[in-house]
């Protein structure tokens, strides 16, 4: 049912369907556009801006921009990559991302995209915000230091789990993730480790308890192959789960 419509992504011809975003068409064609807040299972968000591409001279986020016939999309130029690097550096200095001490290291999308764009240092001045860790829930811990405000947990809890466990409070640099419960703690909310929201965090903010370093450093998702080949954390987690249930 192809419409036969195409655009060019870094010179390659990409076929798209009506209603596709640039990201949709690129993912289907097996082309990688770096991203953090996008997950094909959810409505596109366009907030991290890491998927910015240049379409005929105008910069847009690939995850929200409808694909248009006969356009030239630049995804890999030095200019775009350097801007993505700066955006990632902003995310790194905004929170407290200490990779060597993080259980998610090696399987973290923020870290993997940073490697992919050759980010070698956080560059900007660290904000060092004071954020807490919420270990009140029996099966899941939240480390707010690592939250990048992608709102995937917000969307998953609202749209799939129908629980609205998460929301964003504050404004500007004070924006932060909050939990819907009388105490504001995850343990007092209706959250469960089997929720979709427990399995969409691209970074180490929402982590399962009672397991740690099951896969040794060096053998993790992004340790051997880059994210452009392996794909998103959430997609791999789903695959792993499916492997588990298969006989």
């Amino acid at each position: 049912m192809s419409t036969g419509k195409t655009f060019k992504l870094d010179g390659k011809t990409i076929v798209f369907e009506d209603g596709d975003t640039i990201m949709d068409a690129a993912l289907r064609a097996g082309e990688y556009i770096p991203h953090l807040c996008h997950n094909p299972e959810f409505t596109p968000h366009g907030s991290c801006r890491v998927c910015i591409v240049n379409v005929d001279g105008r910069q847009v986020s690939a995850c929200t921009q409808p694909a248009m016939e006969n356009t030239e999309v630049d995804n890999n130029s030095d200019k775009i990559m350097s801007q993505r690097r700066s955006l990632l550096q902003m995310l790194f200095v905004e929170g407290n991302h200490v990779c060597p001490g993080c259980e998610k290291s090696g399987a973290c999308q923020l870290q993997a995209v940073a490697y992919y764009t050759n980010m070698l240092s956080p560059h900007f001045t660290h904000f060092f915000p004071q954020r807490s860790v919420d270990a009140s829930h029996a099966d899941t811990a939240i480390d707010f230091n690592r939250c990048i405000l992608c709102e995937l947990c917000v969307r998953a809890s609202r749209d799939v789990d129908h629980k609205n466990v998460f929301a964003i409070d504050g404004r500007g640099i004070n924006s932060h993730l909050v939990i819907n419960s009388s105490s504001g703690k995850l343990g007092d909310s209706s959250f469960s480790a089997s929720d979709k929201a427990a399995h969409v965090c691209p970074v180490g903010a929402i982590l399962p308890k009672h397991q740690g370093y099951d896969i040794p450093i060096g053998e993790r998702l992004y340790d051997k192959q880059p994210i452009s080949i392996v794909g998103d954390v959430a997609a791999n987690e789903t695959d792993e789960k499916q492997k588990d249930v298969e006989p």
């Binding site: 366009g46 900007f124 404004r171 939990i179």
Partner: protein
């Protein structure tokens, strides 16, 4: 009345619709000086919303609080135009006399003093809000009186009337302000000539949006009309938040009938039955009078069912209060806010004209645009497009403040030069003019021959004059703080970039910056311009980038003569130690700026 009854009453009025959350919170805030936890719980039940969602809405809007602000919640307007009139000194004086720290409620719970973004009183500042009511023309005398009133626990309703006087200050009239047509004239034209003809006239007039973006008004109306839908909406954007702008305040104070007439005209043309006026919280003092005008229009057949006796011409207007968020001037944020949510700009496309309020086709126009449209319907396209320039027809209202003898409202045909305006408002010795507000352009003296027009200097109407004695870096710093405060926080470049930018401007101002930091500001600015989600993010770095290129000396005179200076301030880090030891002598400091 208990809080439970209060909430039951207001939510019942709105049929417990979650979309009315923001309006409900607004009422509770002014009744109780905060949104108590008990209220959040009750609202969550009644409106079927999560408590976290309600917290999120409270946390987004500057005028809503989840802890009490006291009997007197004072917000000093923090626009650069207020600073130039001495607001900071007055605020220090007020805080000292009351014994409070900015932003922290006094221990007895009586009063909180804080700053707020521009309150739109730049021509009669310094200004402040007390419990949401505007007080103008602050000076030491007035501050002393305010302190007395607070200490004697005098209710704000009993404060002297002259404190709350806001004057129109119209200095120059042209097309719009000279008009003498009667209420209902535009609607009579509509009924006599038909919607198709009037829409053609509005298109032919060349009228473009007066908020600054300049989209052709008639085309917007036509797109909306042509979109298939069972309901359409007309929204008037009166969230006049751009620092230095106050012309909508004057239009709504004295010409509201014509603004409502423009909205009704639009409704008649596109086929809408509901209209909304989004009034910024800072203009709360206008609300009752506006409600009265709406009521008068209903009673004279200019609103409501069968307008002017025309069968099926039904339209009414509701006023929706903003609650302190500059971003809500962006049309899609404004719509989110109308729906009771955090004012996060939507993805575009789709645009509001096809998917707006309640996801229905919606025309969002500026106050001035609606008034101009109403008058075009009365006088015809030629009356309008013979004024101005070819690409910018008609006139523009400018809000003039800063270093000039006669601040106020000036209406000019488009194409007027900066030079001419400065002459008319009595500005001499001008160093620069900031046109179009914090998000606008810094115009140096050598460019004063440039014109106000969409094809040259496009503006929503803010015009702030700076004389040679001013340090323009103060302006840049004020704007950088403004954007960091007003960024909605949705996208990375604006959320983080505006804060990084603010810190860098502060670093320059405090004499700790080097050339490296200026390059850093350029890079962050460019990234914000090209990668932000909405117009706030893309325009937020303008004042920094503009002045870096046109006024490099205002930065260079503050620079350290090194290539690089760390962000970490060793001396500031010793502050705690100094406090503990009670020392503040030279030996207790390291490397302070000379």
């Amino acid at each position: 009345m208990s809080i439970k009854e209060f909430i039951s009453d207001i939510t019942a009025l709105t049929n417990n619709r979650p979309g009315h959350l923001l309006q409900t919170l607004y009422e509770i805030q002014y009744q109780y000086s905060c949104i108590p936890q008990q209220a959040i719980k009750l609202l969550a039940e009644k409106l079927s919303l999560s408590e976290a969602h309600i917290h999120g809405v409270i946390g987004f809007y500057s005028f809503l609080h989840d802890s009490p602000r006291g009997s007197y919640d004072i917000l000093i307007s923090d626009s650069i135009s207020d600073h130039m009139l001495g607001s900071r000194k007055l605020m220090d004086s007020l805080c000292n006399k009351l014994g409070v720290m900015p932003g922290i409620p006094r221990e007895d719970g009586r009063v909180t003093v804080d700053t707020t973004s521009c309150t739109g009183m730049c021509d009669q500042g310094p200004a402040m809000l007390v419990n949401g009511w505007t007080v103008t023309l602050l000076d030491e005398d007035r501050i002393k009186n305010i302190v007395k009133l607070i200490e004697s626990n005098t209710a704000v309703e009993l404060w002297p009337n002259e404190f709350f006087q806001v004057t129109d200050n119209i200095q120059r009239r042209d097309l719009l302000l000279e008009d003498e047509s009667y209420n209902g004239d535009a609607l009579k034209s509509l009924i006599n000539q038909g919607g198709v003809t009037i829409l053609e006239q509005i298109i032919a007039s060349g009228l473009r949006g007066r908020g600054g973006a300049g989209f052709t008004t008639g085309l917007k109306w036509r797109f909306c009309k042509q979109t298939e839908a069972n309901q359409r909406y007309v929204v008037c954007n009166a969230d006049e938040g751009e620092p230095g702008t106050f012309k909508d305040r004057v239009l709504l104070n004295t010409y509201a009938d014509k603004v409502f007439e423009g909205m009704t005209l639009c409704a008649g043309i596109i086929g809408a039955t509901e209209g909304l006026l989004y009034l910024r919280g800072e203009y709360r003092y206008l609300r009752e009078a506006l409600e009265q005008i709406l009521q008068d229009r209903r009673e004279t057949g200019l609103l409501g069912k069968n307008i002017l006796g025309k069968e099926g011409f039904d339209f009414d207007i509701k006023i929706h209060m903003g609650a302190g968020a500059y971003i809500c001037g962006e049309e899609s944020s404004l719509i989110e806010s109308l729906e009771g949510k955090r004012g996060i700009p939507r993805k575009r496309p789709p645009f509001p004209v096809t998917h707006g309020y309640q996801n229905k086709p919606t025309v969002v126009n500026n106050v001035e645009t609606f008034m101009a449209a109403a008058l075009i319907a009365v006088h015809g396209a030629d009356w309008f497009n013979t004024a101005g320039t070819k690409e910018s027809t008609g006139s523009k209202l400018l809000s003039i403040s800063g270093d000039c003898e006669r601040p106020g409202i000036y209406e000019y045909p488009f194409g007027v030069s900066i030079q001419q305006i400065l002459k008319d408002c009595g500005a001499t010795d001008s160093q620069a003019v900031q046109v179009a507000g914090a998000a606008g352009f810094t115009i140096p003296a050598e460019e004063f021959n440039r014109c106000i027009a969409f094809e040259d200097i496009s503006t929503g109407g803010s015009f702030m004059v700076f004389n040679q004695q001013r340090d323009l870096l103060d302006m840049v710093q004020n704007f950088a703080h403004f954007f960091a405060h007003e960024s909605c926080g949705f996208c990375t470049p604006c959320r983080v970039g505006s804060s990084l930018m603010k810190d860098l401007v502060d670093k320059v101002q405090s004499g700790h910056a080097s050339q490296y930091d200026l390059d850093e500001m350029r890079n962050i600015g460019k990234l914000m311009q090209t990668s932000s989600h909405c117009g706030l993010g893309t325009s937020a770095p303008n004042p920094v980038l503009d002045t870096l290129s046109k006024f490099p000396h205002i930065y260079e005179q503050h620079l350290k003569q090194t290539d690089y200076e760390p962000a970490f301030d060793l001396d500031a880090a010793l502050q705690e130690a100094r406090e503990i030891t009670g020392r503040d002598d030279a030996g207790a400091h390291i490397g302070t700026k000379s």
